[in-house]
Every structure is written in structure tokens, then in C-alpha cells.
Symmetry: none
DNA sequence: AATGAATGAGACTTCATTCAT
DNA sequence: CATGAATGAAGTCTCATTCAT
């Protein structure tokens, strides 16, 4: 749908509160009032875009993991690579999930739904990391948060032309797996 | 200054575009118009807050590194710990630096200044990581971006009560130094 | 259009900078924000009103001149009379052209457009005066500026009830044609 | 006084309502609040500047007329020349008298005072024209209004470099005295 | 004389939203 | 499905003015 595509791109690029209904309508080739035929509010539009972002991301990650075989580190690597490819290269919807904080929705109920959707998605990484054999000193929760943080923050600095998203993701996973000391 | 303190807190909590001059003035105990006696625009206020955030963060990190002795990994650990303590616990100004993207300033010139200030700060980590002895397979640039990303993203999930910011930072550094494999 | 009519009347009566969007909206029976559905800015509204003023004035003057026959002084007289009737009696839009200086538009580009529109209109008088047989001592340019100045300044002192605008205009033209000496 | 000089220049250049107390204070090298030590309001400042403009203009015109001898047309010519030189070249105060309409003062009482001051000044021209020998067809009042209108409107188009203000004034007077027909 | 700080009203403008057509 | 027109609240910012120091 042109409307959601436009909203996704703009939310991803400018953030939620800096994006206006006028912007979105204009990018979709309609007038502001017309947006309300399709969505009851700006918040509802965000919710829909966000959900689509989460769903698409989950699909891609799940299928990458399924294709990765049974070795736990390979599965995690595949998930990270799929995550980063989608978020950096392929889906404005997925970008929104990273760029827009749940609190940005000025409606508390919606904020909770966004947070829940994101949590559900991230639970995959809880499982993937739970399957790893870890050293005693390692904390699985912090490992997950470190990895996801490093991946998501790439949106801040990534520019096309250097290392590919998948390569970056694999590098991150390897660094944390083996350490960087000689 | 009450005004900058208020602005820092609100920018950190709600983001730049969701924060209004009314909000800031109210929190500082004055009327919206009065803000403009002190700062010529909302953007200028952001710039000042941001700079103060960078400066304060740099001071704390520099002195932590200086106190850490000469061992490269210890120095990096001290920097990460100081960074995270400041950003999560101690300074609303520093939080702004993480939460607000340079592009949020709707003035291009200011956006550049914000980006430059942040870059100058982050160059410390370039130096600290450059001093490490790394395995051949490790990429110093990606290592820096991974670590800073993981640290900065904590703002998204950190809640007081669990592991301390310093502990989290040290865990991240150790994970990446030694790896988490048994 | 009610909006432009209201703006024309107010700009003519109070000048541009003393007229507020609130004034205009109120006179047109709408709220301030609604004005912006029709015009992107106060300056754009002025430009439109000014252009309409110039266009209407030009139409009236052109048709009066066409109806005046071929005698050059009669043509000039007809132009002056039409100019003054329109500006004093008939069109708030035309009044704006006299009352508002191009520089009042705080946007330089618009100021230039206003000045250009006015110049184009006044070129008619250049032509009309160029067709007159003048004494050697007479300067056609100063004659034009004197006449237009005298006509336009009437807005400052004219009150309905005395001599009609057309009569005033004819008197001015005759005075300058024959002189007032006995 | 620096303050009045600054106000005169700015009122003359930008008009009354487009000129702010900030502008004036800045041009006089002080802060906005300080203006109120010298003048109780913006309107009062305008009144003072306007009066000074009228007084200075009257002085110059009166002394030019006195120096012009007894011939009525020569006296009128001298008055017109002095008027135009002062208004175009010499006094920002006098410019204000032409540029600012009495109604621009948003205080009705002050508007009346401004109009009265201007009227008192212009009465000179009533006297000067009353002394002329005029053809029967000529209307002394319209002659005065035409001449003053033509003179005052010069502010709209005059640029230094062409004919001098005095020359323009003399040309206007001669045109109307003898007519421009061959 | 002048400043520094603020006020309160109001400036232009933008926003999400509504609704008859 | 979408538009055209408007709303009402709120946005950033400017203004003349005040007043303690």
C-alpha cells in the first residue's frame, strides 16, 4: 500500500514526531484528509507500520535460521546477518522498528503494543543464545543485549559502500564468540 | 542554569522534536517567551545542551582513563565504564547526546556541528582501541562501532536496580576481549 | 474570494505590517489557521492581492484610454481619471498598490515582484506622455513622475464629498498642460 | 540624541510598525529596556521624532522663503526646493513625516497630534500659493495638493545620482506655472 | 543612565483531525 | 476513495513593556 510505504520511509528517515501527516500524504500522492479514510490516526498508522516491520523482520530471520542448520553459533550468525540486512538494506518498515522508540507514540496503550511486538521479536535471540555453550563468566542476557545493541546502532553510522550488512553482523558475532585478543 | 537543565532532561526523556519550548519553559519556571532572552532558538538551545553533554562526558572519560594506568585493556574498560555511568546515571546532558540524532536539529548547519562534536568525542575510542594488541582477524573500526553501539543502546533497555552501568560496561569489554566461548 | 477581499481592504486601510492574519481571517469569517489552506504565507497573500490590484487597474485604465479617441492629451486625461477613480473609489485592491511599498513585504523576492508589477503598470504613462507634443523645456520623465505622484498622494487627503476623483485627475492634467498662470 | 537619530532613520527606512524597539535600541547602542528611560513608549518616540522632523523642515523652508525675495513664484520655488532637499537628502526626521502616516500611530490622540503638526507645516504652502496670481480656471487648493503630492511622492522613486532634489522641485513648480505645452 | 531578566500578549505558522460532498 | 475546506489547539518566535538592581 502506497500509504504505508510512504509512512514507513518517512518514519524511518525522520522519526515519528518529525513526520507529519502532510508529509506522508504528499509522498503517497494524496491529501492529508484522505489519509483518514485508511487509518484513524497517525498513531494507528505507526502501529500498523511497526507491526509490519516486526513481522517482515521475523519472517526473514526465521527462515535464515531454519536454513542455517543445527550448529548454534551458525544459527545465531545467520539471524544477525538477516537482521542487519533487513534493517539496513531492505525494509523501511524494519528500520522504523529501530528508529522509533515505543514511547514516541503519544498514546500509552499503543506504546505498550509496540514494545510488546518488539519484545516478541527479540525473544528469538534469547532462544538462539540460550542454545550456545558459554563460558562460566558469560551472562546470556547481557550478551544478547550487547549483540542487539551493536546491531541496531549500526543504523546510526552505516553507509552503503563499505562492509556489507551481513559481513558486519558476522564480524560482530565472531568477535564476541572468540574474542579479539591474539 | 535552570533552563539548560530543564532542556537537557526533556530532550533526553522525550527526544528533541517531541519537546516543546512550552515544556522547557514550564520546567524551568518561566514563560515560553522568556526562553528567547537566553537562547535565540530551540535549535540553539539544543546545540548548547549537546555541547555541554559532550564536554562533560569527555571530561569524565578522560579522567577515568588517566586514572586507569597504562594497560590498554584496562584503559578501554575504564573509558567504557565512565561513559556508561555518565550516560545512564549521571548526566541528562550526556543522555541527550545518545538520544538525539544530529539530523533531528532541523537546521543543517547545526546538525553538522552536533555530528562534529560527537565525532570528536568518539575519537577517544579510536585511540584507545588503536593501542590494543588485537588478533589478526579483528577489525579495529568494527570493534569500536560494536562497542559504542552496545554501550549507547543500553539507554533503550537499562532500568536502575540490576547490574550497575559500570558492571555492564566491563562485561561488554570483557566479552569482546576474551570471547564468550568456553 | 472573501479572503482576498478582506485582505485587500485591510492592507489598504492599515498597511501591510499593521494588518494581522487574525484581522484578515476574522474579516473573512474564518480562523487564522484556515487562511493557510488558501495561501502559504502572509507575504504570498499580499502578492496575490497586489497583482490583482495592478491587473484590475490596468484593465480599467486601458479601456478608458481606448475609449478616449486619438488626441494625446485626452488620452492622458482619461488614464488619469480612470486611475484615480479606481484607486480612490472602486477597488481596495488598487488602493493596496498605492499604500503598500514593495519593501514592506519582508521577503526580498516578493518585493521585487511587487516592484516589477507596479513598473509594468506605470509604463502605460510613459507611453501616453511620450505621445504628447511638449515644450522644449519640459522633461517627459519628470512630468510622468510628477503626475503619478500627485495622483497617488491623493490617497492621503481625499475624502468623499468634495470634488470627484475624475474631476481631480482632470484638474491635475489641465494644470500641467496649460499652466496655472493667467 | 543617538536614540532619536536611530529611530528617525529606521522609521524613515522601514516604516513605523515594521520598526521594533529592539531595532532602535540596537542602532543606538543600548538594550531595549533602556529606551524606556528616555521615552515612555514607542508611540511617544514617534511623536518626538515626527515633531522634530516638522520643526526642522519648517525652519529650512521658512529661511529659504525669506531669502527668496518678494516675487511670489520665486518664493514658492524656494519653498519647494528646500522641502525636497530636506526630505530627500538631509534629514531622516523629515523623511519620517512623509513616510509615516498619522494613522500608523496606534494611539488615536497621537495620530491627531501628528496630523496637526503636518497641517501646521503645510499651511505655509497655502499662504505661498494664496499669494500667486492665478488664472481663473485654477483651483488654489488642488494646486497645493498637487504640488505637495508630487513632491512627497518623490520619496518613492528618488535615487541619488540623477537630477538634484532642488532641480526636481524647480521643474515641478515651473511645469505647473507655465504648463508643458509648446 | 542603563542593564538583565522577565512578562504577557500576540505574531505567523503548522498540526492532527473532521466532515460534507 | 478521495477532496476541499475548515477547525482548534498548539507550535516557535517576537513584541512592547516593566522593574529590580
Amino acid at each position: 500500500m502506497a500509504l504505508m510505504d510512504a509512512a514507513a520511509r518517512l518514519f524511518a528517515d525522520q522519526g515519528y514526531s518529525a513526520t507529519t501527516i502532510r508529509d506522508i500524504a504528499g509522498a503517497a500522492g494524496m491529501l492529508p484528509g484522505s489519509v483518514y479514510y485508511h487509518f484513524p490516526s497517525k498513531t494507528a498508522l505507526l502501529l500498523e507500520v511497526y507491526r509490519e516491520g516486526v513481522a517482515g523482520l521475523a519472517r526473514r530471520v526465521d527462515s535464515a535460521v531454519a536454513a542455517a542448520g543445527g550448529e548454534p553459533w551458525a544459527r545465531l550468525e545467520a539471524a544477525a546477518a538477516a537482521h542487519l540486512e533487513t534493517v539496513l538494506d531492505q525494509s523501511a518498515y524494519a528500520k522504523v522498528m529501530i528508529r522509533v522508540l515505543p514511547d514516541d507514540a503519544d498514546d500509552g496503550a499503543v506504546a505498550k503494543e509496540l514494545a510488546a511486538a518488539r519484545d516478541e521479536y527479540e525473544s528469538r535471540f534469547r532462544t538462539l543464545i540460550g542454545a550456545l555453550a558459554l563460558a562460566d563468566r558469560a551472562d546470556a542476557r547481557l550478551l544478547r543485549l550487547m549483540l542487539l545493541g551493536a546491531l541496531n546502532w549500526t543504523q546510526t553510522w552505516y553507509r552503503a559502500g563499505g562492509a556489507s550488512p551481513a559481513a558486519i553482523a558476522r564480524d560482530f558475532v565472531k568477535s564476541v564468540k572468540q574474542g579479539v585478543s591474539p
